[in-house]
């Protein structure tokens, strides 16, 4: 077996395990936790397209989640339009907003860009919290919107059990990871990396850095909004605090930083580590001190940044490669025992 084949087999095995989990885990509570885990992995992978490859640190992605969630929910509640269609509409709306945010802010460097995106996201939250009706659309201010659990079925992206949600979010995650993989090997991926690392050098090599970042932002905001719709249909209740809050934006950035910004599976690794920490600290320590999970997050983040500044992806990738090498070596030794 070649190295490449071995990698493919191990990837397929990982995918099969993830897809097979609901067969063994039937408890709705655990499935709920797992759905949210993969939901965050999806969000962070989408964020990574711009936050990882383009070398900027957007901290306002909750805006796009909110746009996705509110668009599909309003279309469904007021006009009876399937959330699947609302999802796409929300995606395009978020793309427009993302590009509009990107146009002025991509000129800012480092922390200033991060601050600008925070300011924008907070402005959006405050506006939504104080708006009951936006034209004909009912936002319902801070009380949020509730989706009645009626007319369940695939067409309405509404289910009585957790399993369908699980499969949908996992397939979305696989899709976005595949897309990230393709982008990272494309001209756009090379240009984003180059522009993120040394913009002047990249420009001299023919890279229109600002345009590449906008393209990444457009993709990222589109994909992020899709997750918003999913979240609305999964929890059946959205309100500005839950879906446009900075906590959400920060958590995405935390997961990315810990997993490994700019790597393909880093966001998934980060979510696998941090989500259980977050959920269990909330369950068991939530009564002790509200927000304790964020403190724990912070401590983990500091530790990872001290010992693995480029995220957990790097040591794990090394381990993975080492394992694959070991397997290959063992095989070749077995095939040619006389060579010693």
């Amino acid at each position: 077996m070649t190295r490449q084949a071995l990698r493919k087999v191990s990837l397929a095995a990982a995918a099969a395990i993830i897809l097979g989990i609901p067969v063994f885990v039937t408890s709705p509570t655990y499935l709920h936790i797992l759905v949210l885990l993969f939901f965050y992995a999806y969000l962070t992978t989408s964020w990574n397209l711009v936050g990882g490859f383009a070398g900027v640190l957007p901290l306002g992605h909750s805006t796009f989640i909110g746009i996705g969630a509110y668009t599909s929910t309003i279309l469904y509640l007021q006009y009876g339009i399937s959330p699947w269609i609302g999802m796409i509409v929300g995606g395009f709306l978020a793309t427009i907003v993302g590009v509009l945010i990107g146009l002025p802010t991509f000129k800012l460097r480092g922390a200033y860009f991060a601050l600008a995106t925070i300011a924008f996201a907070e402005a959006v939250r405050v506006i939504v919290e104080n708006t009951d009706y936006l034209g004909p659309f009912k936002l319902n201010g801070p009380r949020g919107l509730q989706i009645p659990p009626l007319n369940v079925g695939f067409g309405n992206l509404l289910f009585n059990t957790k399993q369908p949600y699980y499969y949908i979010v996992v397939l979305m995650l696989f899709g976005v990871i595949a897309l990230t993989y393709l982008v990272s090997r494309s001209k756009l991926g090379y240009y984003l990396n180059a522009g993120g690392e040394e913009p002047e050098a990249a420009m001299a090599l023919g890279v229109n850095v600002a345009r590449c970042k906008l393209m990444a932002m457009a993709m990222s905001s589109f994909l992020t909004a899709l997750a918003g719709t999913f979240y609305a249909q999964f929890t059946l209740f959205i309100h500005p605090k839950s879906i446009i809050s900075l906590d959400l934006s920060f958590e995405i950035a935390f997961i990315a930083l810990i997993g490994g910004r700019g790597s393909i599976v880093g966001p998934l690794l980060g979510a696998l580590l941090l989500r259980p920490v977050s959920d269990f600290s909330r369950i068991y320590l939530g009564a002790v001190l509200p927000g304790l999970h964020l403190i724990i997050f912070g401590i983990i983040l500091i530790l990872v940044m001290m010992f693995q500044p480029r995220g957990l992806h790097q040591p794990l990738a090394r381990l993975y490669n080492w394992l694959i090498d070991r397997l290959i070596v063992e095989r070749t030794v077995k095939l040619s025992p006389t060579k010693e």
């Binding site: 001209k187 002047e200 050098a201 090599l205 229109n208």
Partner: protein, 241 residues
């Protein structure tokens, strides 16, 4: 054939006139040297030509076409490439990746960009380093990587900003050989350089600037005996001697 022409090029930063009414004519196939004391405005002139700065006044023509309003990436597509005095490798990426970024200027297919990158790396004796991280290279290798990236964009005109600074004498000799080979391959080279031995042996023509103004132009032999140049480099009293 004239490849680059600057007419009364000036660049002002607030109260500082960094480049003052500079005229340049560079013919295709030449190696053209730009020298001058520190702070003379050489790199600023480069940055105007490469589209990093928009000149305060004056005009630049590439292949007879005005470049005003064009940004660095536009000019790169038109066959102008440059290196940076302070090297700017994509440090966390491999050497091959670095050069492939340049290769993408002429193709959208990764395999072709990498093929071009490998070809350039071979010609600059960097091929065996292709999988090394650019951040781990020696300074000599980094300077060659800068050139490799620029070459991968398939330029007609190559602006080199002090590619020999910090190199050991043997490395300078190698660089001189490389540049001569590039010129023979049809690339026009415009270089800023402080290592006189190299500039004098390489250049077909040299322009000397001081305080942003051209003070001399000619063949290396003419420049070496020019009184203004000697004064600029060694001070007034030497000029009188």
């Amino acid at each position: 054939m004239r490849i680059l022409e600057a007419k009364r090029l000036s660049m002002r930063f607030g109260g500082l006139l960094a480049v003052d009414q500079l005229d340049l004519q560079i013919d295709e196939g030449q190696i053209f040297g730009l020298i001058g004391p520190n702070g003379a405005g050489k790199t600023t002139a480069f940055n105007c030509i490469a589209g990093v700065y928009q000149a305060t006044s004056g005009e630049i023509f590439l292949h007879g076409e005005s470049t005003s309003g064009q940004r660095p990436w536009d000019l790169c597509r038109k066959g102008l490439a440059r290196t940076f005095q302070v090297v700017k490798p994509f440090a966390t990426k491999t050497v091959l990746y670095n050069v492939a970024v340049g290769g993408f200027a002429r193709t959208s297919v990764r395999a072709r960009a990498e093929e071009k990158a490998l070809e350039v790396l071979e010609s600059l004796h960097l091929a065996e380093k292709k999988d090394a991280l650019a951040g781990n290279l020696t300074i000599g290798e980094r300077k060659r990587l800068e050139i490799a990236r620029a070459l991968a964009t398939e330029p007609r005109l190559l602006l080199l900003d002090e590619v020999m600074a910090g190199l050991r004498p043997t490395e300078v000799d190698e660089m001189v050989r490389i540049l001569k080979r590039l010129r023979d391959g049809g690339i026009t080279i415009f270089l800023i350089e402080h290592i006189m031995r190299a500039v004098m042996s390489l250049s077909d023509r040299i322009v000397v600037i001081q305080y942003g103004k051209k003070i001399a132009e000619g063949t290396p032999r003419e420049i070496a005996s020019d009184e203004n140049v000697i004064k600029a480099y060694l001070g007034e009293e030497y000029g009188a001697a």
